[in-house]
């Protein structure tokens, strides 16, 4: 296990170095002088010169790179021009919002997706299978912003069960937090549930054709025991891969839903940065997303070893 972890961490480190290099070069990939992005056309040469010094752009590129790495190693992602505050602080402030939204959506999607997938596989080609598959296809096809708006219209505007948007921190008011997070989490989950249900079904169907399922049948085990003890643990291996992708997507890519429900998450911060050409925010956000994906993948890799004993050999 220690060797397994060391190998994965070494791989993650290499990816981080490459991503941070890309992050660093963003400012150089912008056409023309990077300062043009920060200052409008009426800026005087003195102003431009001062900004260049401030950003360290007057230094040789090699020194700039060392400084960049020195800063990010200390957790300093730079200073947001638009927000006039540290990017690290801005991301950390919004992280709990994104985390609670993503984890609730993921939990809902996994619970519903895996159950639906099992029901479909067990009833292969009968009506429960067809119902699950139709609903899953619907979930996959509906655009999330449309679904979000429809939910707001129905449950917030018409019925008044939930607020139309905004976010209440968990520490302030747990019930209010649940109310503010429930609809966006549902919307996110509906999109992913179809994905997970289809994967679980396909994986389960494949496993149910394996020889060891016939062995379990020959043992006279109950159908339910065969499904849950022999079928599901084997079928979960590919589902775990999908769950990892979904978790990454939810943590980094809930941008549209955060916008629709006016939730101040990391996604909205990054979108704001991109729209206003706030380069330190873009650079920091990129690095943050890479770290999130790597962390999720590491967790998935470790979970693999728990689900499938054959993985430990590597």
């Amino acid at each position: 296990m220690a060797r397994f972890l060391t190998k994965r961490l070494a791989g993650a480190f290499v990816v981080l170095v490459l991503v941070s290099l890309m992050s660093f070069s963003i400012i150089w990939l912008v056409p023309g002088d990077p300062t043009a992005a920060f200052l409008d056309t009426s800026a005087t040469p003195e102003q431009v010169e001062r900004l260049r010094r401030e950003l360290g752009l007057d230094q040789p590129i090699f020194i700039q790179m060392l400084e960049w790495y020195g800063r990010i190693l200390q957790g300093d992602l730079g200073h947001s021009i638009l927000l006039n505050r540290s990017v690290t602080a801005a991301i950390l402030e919004r992280l709990p919002v994104t985390l609670s939204l993503a984890s609730i959506a993921l939990a809902l999607a996994l619970l519903a997706g895996i159950s639906a997938g099992i029901v479909a596989a067990v009833n292969h080609n009968r009506w429960p299978d067809q119902v699950v598959m139709t609903v899953a296809l619907f979930g996959l096809s509906v655009p999330d912003f449309w679904l979000g708006i429809m939910l707001i219209l129905l449950f917030a505007v018409k019925l008044g069960f939930f607020p139309t948007g905004g976010y209440v921190p968990l520490g302030e008011d747990p019930l209010g937090w649940l109310g503010s997070i429930f609809m966006p989490a549902m919307t996110l989950a509906v999109i992913q549930v179809g994905f997970i249900a289809r994967m679980t079904r396909a994986s389960m169907l494949e496993i149910l054709n394996q020889d060891f399922i016939r062995t379990a049948d020959a043992k006279g085990l109950k159908r339910m025991d065969i499904m849950l003890r022999h079928g599901l643990p084997n079928a979960l291996v590919p589902v775990l891969t999908v769950a990892g992708i979904v978790a990454g997507a939810l943590l980094g890519g809930a941008v549209i839903i955060e916008q629709v429900f006016s939730i101040p998450g990391v996604g909205r911060l990054i979108i704001g940065g991109i729209l206003s050409r706030d380069y330190p925010v873009i650079q920091g956000g990129l690095l943050f997303l890479a770290v999130i994906y790597l962390a999720v993948n590491l967790v998935v890799d470790i979970l693999y070893a728990f689900v499938d004993p054959r993985v430990r050999l590597e």
Partner: protein
């Protein structure tokens, strides 16, 4: 004669969509403590026979006629749940592929213990009994091996685990479907010895399916020769080897490579087993039979007594030293 532990009468199975028969009118019985070898080429229906008895036929194949009587109880009319009750208690089976027949993510000891647990053995006792069973199937250091996963064991060891699973059921009838075919030759001999030893010690009634006549000679008391889903010959193992009555049995024996005499071309049976749905009208072996006559192609021969403890489905069995009429009398 004692009451047979397993009786198969007129068993016929059919492909669900095309109505083509896979097994046709197969009848035999298995006595308590007896080893009945079932031989045949690939496609002769051996495995379908095993799965029929277990009640595990794939959905595409249906039993359309016949009876399966276990210990005096007709299972053919019983609901699937009743059959499930019988499996893992009265019926157990060892499969051909030990590599894929075990659950890869479950410890092998647990895969044995769950059979015991199902029979109502308490958890701690099941654990002890599993170690005990591992010793009986001669797995070294059983206390450690029960915690192993299938991929950590060799093919021979996995097949021993499969045998332990079958024994855990303490079955009345054990079906072994080519249990040694997928193994190395040296391991084959070990597994065969083990099965024979366990069969004698426990007085198991064993239905042993193989395509290997050498294995049959080692283990079987009686032999059922299947050809294209029909019984060609049923006789004691001695009769099968000494005076086979069906031309197919004789051809099978002739195709065993010999080491005596000069080496020549290996003897084969010309042609191939007809596939399901393209069966000849008369004797199914007729197209490949060197003794074929016109009547062979008219209608299928019935299984008839051709001598003491010997039956063959042939219109012109070879006969014995003495005239055939005398043998029948």
């Amino acid at each position: 004669m004692t009451r047979p532990i397993l009786e198969i009468k007129g068993l016929t199975t059919t492909l669900a969509n095309s109505k083509a028969t896979v097994l046709e009118d197969v009848s035999f019985s298995l006595q308590p403590g007896e080893v009945l070898g079932v031989v045949g080429e690939s496609g002769s229906g051996k495995s379908m026979l095993a799965l029929s008895v277990m009640g595990l036929l794939p959905k595409v194949i249906r039993r359309t006629a016949g009876y399966i009587i276990l210990n005096g109880e007709d299972l053919t009319g019983s609901p699937p749940e009743h059959w499930r009750e019988k499996r893992g208690r009265d019926l157990a089976m060892i499969f051909q592929e030990p590599m894929t027949a075990l659950n890869p993510v479950m410890r092998v000891g647990d895969q044995v213990a769950e059979v015991l647990r199902r029979r109502g053995v308490p958890a701690e006792k099941a654990r002890q009994e599993t170690i005990n069973l591992f010793m009986q199937v001669e797995i070294p250091s059983p206390e450690q091996r029960v915690r192993a996963y299938p991929h950590e064991l060799s093919g021979g060891m996995r097949q021993r685990v499969m045998i332990a699973i079958a024994l855990a059921a303490d079955p009345k009838v054990l079906i072994a479907d080519e249990p040694t075919t997928a193994l190395d030759v040296t391991v084959q001999a070990q597994i065969l010895d083990l099965l024979r030893k366990l069969q004698r010690e426990r007085g198991l009634s064993l239905l042993f399916i193989t395509h290997d006549l050498g294995v049959i000679a080692e283990i079987a008391d009686r032999v059922l020769v299947l050809y294209a889903g029909r019984v060609a010959e049923l006789a004691s193992v001695r009769k099968i080897f000494d005076s086979p009555q069906h031309p197919y049995t004789r051809a099978l024996l002739a195709s065993i490579p010999q080491t005596k005499g000069p080496r020549g071309r290996l003897v084969t049976i010309e042609g191939a087993v007809p596939s399901v749905g393209t069966m000849p009208k008369g004797c199914r072996y007729a197209p490949r039979c060197t003794f074929r006559r016109d009547i062979c192609e008219q209608e299928p021969p019935r299984l008839g007594i051709v001598g003491p403890s010997q039956a063959a489905a042939c219109l012109q069995p070879f006969g014995f030293e003495q005239p055939q009429e005398e043998a029948l009398a």
